[in-house]
């Protein structure tokens, strides 16, 4: 799907009642939002539910969106707040299998191979579990930074914390993950 319309154009049309314009936004961001929520919540089922709720809420409240901000940032905030207030206790981690009915898409990063390539499903599951086990505030910054590619200022804005806090939490989160991942190497 290659849609040339910008987010602003789609929003303007959607506000005028053109549902297809909003559908374009959904198709554009559904995978990204789902994956981020899945890492954040540790459950793909919960992530699917919250992502859907977020899109519906965004659609209903589209008139309140200020075009000068990025649509996805606004959408993510909605989803993030829904996830936080969801009220569910963390379910046992749902492993996001790569051989289930979901389609595989490219990883966000094609960077230099990490020292421990994610070649096996067990390795992937281990990394997911490590992220899942992080404290909430650490997992949030890790997800926003590593998966959403947000800079510190954006993270501070979304989480409404000082930038210095972003820096320290991200460091601690990485330190935690480093320890947990180290135990997986055998």
């Amino acid at each position: 799907m290659a849609d040339q319309h910008t987010d602003a154009e789609c929003i303007a049309k959607a506000r005028q009642g053109e549902r297809a314009a909003f559908d374009t936004l959904v198709l554009r961001y559904q995978d990204r939002l789902f994956n981020t929520l899945a890492r954040l919540m540790g459950s793909s089922d919960d992530a699917l539910d919250i992502a859907q709720d977020a899109f519906v809420q965004a659609y209903v409240k589209l008139d309140t969106f200020k075009e000068t901000a990025a649509f996805y940032t606004w959408l993510y905030r909605i989803a993030f707040n829904l996830a936080m207030s969801h009220g569910r206790k963390r379910r046992p981690l749902t492993i996001m299998d790569t051989d289930d009915t979901t389609r595989n898409i490219e990883p966000a990063s094609t960077a230099v191979s990490p020292s421990e390539p994610l070649e096996s499903a067990e390795r992937v599951a281990g990394v997911q579990a490590a992220i899942h086990d992080l404290a909430d505030e650490h997992r949030q910054v890790v997800v926003l930074r590593e998966l959403e590619g947000c800079d510190y200022e954006q993270i501070a804005d979304i989480l409404e914390i000082p930038i210095g806090t972003v820096r320290s939490r991200l460091f601690r989160a990485r330190a935690c993950l480093k320890e947990k991942l180290a135990t997986m190497v055998d």
Binding site: G17, A38, E106, P114
Partner: protein, 610 residues
């Protein structure tokens, strides 16, 4: 408070791999890494962790999920329609005025017909649809015209006197009904007369094509965002007394010039990307973990959820006045360097963060006079002549506004810088983009991809704008633009932001704004026609900004600002009292965290010196 010397720590290494260090910090960290193998190893480990997380596979949502969402959005559309009818029922101004939606079975037919018509519109548009079944439905009626009442019907806020085009109730939910079928409906006399369907969705497609081809041209849609030309962003830096901030004196200046201010605080991201990039490029934001001892963060608007610019005792001063480096002292200096101990300490600090946030909320109820406001940021969308008038008013009120500096923002310059960063991987001027440090040429990661995307986007826009670089074209384009509604909004800034972000210095982009005219001549000018006065002010502003060409050609305006030209201006008002070197304390540092623990339970402001 003592001047804290610059010292690296492990947190900096984490920020180092994210490219989130100031120039001074970067130098120090690179020196540190070059001489300390343990630091090198930690950098590598942190980078590996980051890469590992980023390399997690992504999965797409199931197709059934998308279809389910489509259904829910359909339901939401129906709900919106019903809500409009309820507003009418309650005597509220409603767009779907006379439609009995929700009141009778006929109302459900109207609702269903509206959905069917919307489906018909979707089927006519080239965009991908969520539901394949929708694409198969061949509409037997013509799609509504752009901006037709039907198209606006699903909106929550109904417009007045809406008239609906409704097709006949669908028989089995398949094909869209025809107008003729609708005409045979036994409609009550007070039912709205449905407007005509316009021939399909070609007007909308044409609109999109026009918008894509001429992004700088005015659009016919009043709600469509206006794309400003390059160099229609300005940043106005100003030093103001705390009382001026507290009383929001700037509201009067803006209001006197027809600019309505919304006192709700918005995200910093509301500011245009070029504006944020330019400030970040020049003034790296490297705020330490200053929320610990500061427990005094309060929201100027009184709501704890919004980030505040307040600091109880911290005061800031220009770096040169205090002798400290432009970079802030580092937090975590006293934190252990081993990860084990770091993990243990992190829990204490996180709890402190939570406790402080709670204290922040409690402190909101306390007297305002006990807390200094660091500053405020106002984002203004107005015409150039309105801005010039505001600046003239500020300039003629030195008691409230001092050291006014106007800084033009050039998307072209920023795009060039971004492209340079992309190509060279330079550390300087990353402008908040999350570039990875140490990425070799040819390597790609998520952060570089984001930089590439942004650079490409801006490069493309700059290229288009460069084609119309001559003054005549720009002049014509900008006069076609309209400021829909002059407005101003307050933007939230993180703590200590006003400390680390300053007006440009002499050899940088901005120049001080001199007095337009002396008071007498100014009054004389305004005694003449109002237009003359406004023109004089705008001419003065253009003259001043044009001087930028001598200092920094790429930052100068491509063409003088026209009177009605839309301009987005970021007013950054810094507390002039807190800039007093005698009161300088700087932002909180880690060394203050421990002593401040004892102060957490106390509502009294922290002392300035440890």
């Amino acid at each position: 408070m003592s001047q804290t010397p610059f010292q690296p720590d492990d947190e900096l290494l984490s920020a180092y791999i994210d490219g989130e260090l100031s120039a001074d910090e970067l130098r120090a960290v690179e020196e540190w890494i070059a001489t300390d193998p343990a630091a090198q190893a930690l950098v590598e480990e942190l980078r590996n962790v980051s890469n590992t997380v980023q390399s997690l596979p992504r999965t797409a949502v199931p197709a059934e999920w998308t279809a389910q969402l489509a259904q829910r959005l359909d339901e939401a559309t129906s709900s919106k329609t019903s809500l409009g009818a309820k507003h009418e029922e309650n005597g509220q101004a409603g767009g779907i005025a006379s439609l009995p939606i929700g009141r009778s079975k006929r109302g459900w037919w109207w609702s269903a017909a509206a959905i069917a018509a919307a489906v018909a519109v979707m089927a006519m548009l080239p965009q991908a649809n969520l539901n394949d079944q929708v694409a198969k439905n061949t509409p037997t009626t013509k799609a509504p015209a752009a901006g037709s009442e039907l198209a606006r019907a699903p909106m929550l806020e109904g417009t007045e006197g809406e008239r609906m085009t409704m097709s006949a109730p669908p028989s089995d939910g398949a094909a869209a009904p025809s107008l003729d079928a609708l005409a045979t409906e036994d409609l009550s006399a007070d039912m709205p007369t449905p407007p005509e369907f316009a021939p399909e969705a070609t007007p909308e497609r044409a609109d999109f094509a026009r918008m894509a081809e001429a992004p700088l041209a005015a659009t016919a849609e009043p709600t469509a965002p206006v794309e400003p030309v390059d160099n229609t962003y300005l940043i106005v830096w100003c030093e103001v007394p705390p009382e001026t901030l507290r009383q929001r004196e700037i509201n009067n200046v803006l209001g006197d010039n027809g600019i309505q201010i919304d006192d709700r605080t918005e995200s910093w991201l509301a500011a245009a990307e070029p504006v944020r990039q330019q400030i970040a490029m020049r003034n790296r934001i490297a705020v330490e973990n200053s929320s610990g001892p500061r427990g005094r963060v309060r929201s100027v608007e009184g709501t704890a959820s919004r980030e505040s610019a307040a600091a109880s005792t911290r005061s800031f001063a220009p770096a040169e006045a205090t002798g400290r480096s432009a970079s802030p002292p580092l937090a975590g200096r006293n934190q252990p360097t081993t990860s084990d101990a770091g993990v243990g300490q992190e829990n204490d600090l996180d709890e402190r963060d939570r406790d402080n946030k709670q204290q922040d909320e409690e402190a909101d109820a306390e007297a305002d006079e006990s807390v200094e406001i660091e500053g405020e940021t106002i984002l203004v969308d107005a015409t150039a002549d309105q801005i010039a008038s505001c600046l003239a008013a500020m300039q003629n009120d030195p008691g409230n506004y001092a050291s006014i500096t106007v800084e033009p923002v050039s998307k072209q310059a920023i795009a060039e810088q971004l492209i340079q960063n992309r190509r060279g991987g330079a550390a300087a001027g990353r402008a908040g983009l999350s570039l990875r440090m140490g990425v070799q040429d040819g390597e790609q990661n998520a952060d570089d991809a984001a930089t590439v995307d942004l650079a490409d986007s801006m490069e493309g826009k700059v290229a288009m704008e460069a084609q119309a670089a001559n003054e005549a074209e720009i002049s014509q384009q900008v006069t076609e633009l309209q400021v829909q509604r002059p407005q101003a909004r307050r933007l939230q800034r993180p703590k200590d932001w006003y400390y680390y972000n300053t007006a440009p210095q002499d050899d940088q982009q901005g120049i001080p704004l001199p007095v337009y005219q002396d008071a007498n001549s100014k009054v004389a000018a305004e005694d003449k026609t109002l237009a003359n006065g406004k023109t004089a002010k705008l001419e003065e502003l253009n003259r001043l900004v044009k001087q930028q060409q001598q200092v920094r050609p790429q930052q100068s305006l491509q063409a003088p600002l026209k009177e009605q030209q839309p301009v987005q201006v970021l007013f950054v008002l810094r507390n002039s009292r807190l800039s007093n070197p005698a009161l300088s304390a700087g932002p909180a540092t880690a060394s203050e965290i421990a002593p401040a623990e004892a102060m957490e339970a106390s509502p009294a402001p922290a002392s300035e010196s440890p």
